[in-house]
């Protein structure tokens, strides 16, 4: 073993991978652009802007749109109502999106190093070995 890295922050650095991951978890209608207005459905909702928007009701997000806003460094951070955080995809929206995004990132790394992938799942843990 020569290096160990752990990623815990909820940001998505690659826009194309993020959109692919969103589509993979059922977000079939995505609005994309720059600084788009997110929908306001309740009087108390403040005006919020984002660059990638999953419309309200797509994945059980009944309280509002789910957005992804470009932040410093070029990554995208999620913007969503706290209630949707606990309800979208049964409260698993962000974990499933991160896991899917990370798997897509691994596939891209494997392709770039010309490696072969071996994937196993056990006890809620996905292990992917890339040999090259």
């Amino acid at each position: 073993m020569s290096k160990y890295l752990a990623f815990t922050e909820v940001v998505f650095k690659d826009r194309a991978l993020l959109v692919s991951a969103l589509e993979s978890i059922g977000c079939t209608q995505i609005r994309q652009g720059e600084n788009l207005a997110m929908g306001r459905y309740w009087a108390e909702q403040a005006e919020t802007r984002a660059d990638i928007i999953v419309p309200r009701g797509t994945v059980g997000n009944s309280f509002g749109d789910i957005g992804f806003m470009r932040v410093e460094g070029g990554a995208y951070a999620p913007v969503l109502d706290d209630l949707d955080k606990s309800r979208a995809l049964g409260g698993k929206f962000l974990p499933r999106l991160r896991a899917t995004y990370n798997e897509l990132a691994v596939a891209q790394v494997a392709a770039r190093v010309g490696g072969t992938m071996q994937r196993t799942v056990s006890g809620g843990v996905v292990k992917i070995r890339v040999r090259f």
């Binding site: 073993m1 020569s2 890295l5 922050e9």
Partner: protein, 65 residues
Amino acid sequence: MPEIEFTIREETGEMELQVEGVQGPACSDIAKLVTDLVGAPAREENTREYYVSPQVARQVQQKKS
């Protein structure tokens, strides 16, 4: 054979990885490939193998008699 082992926890979506069998700073190139896609890691450790320089085979030329 060099290998990268990725571990993704379905409960949180968090990912960890270990690079094995890559000596020297070459494994930083691999780490960069990953961080370009997933961002900066919260934790990073270089293990002993990281500090091993790649070995270059010594060539001995025999004198022709």
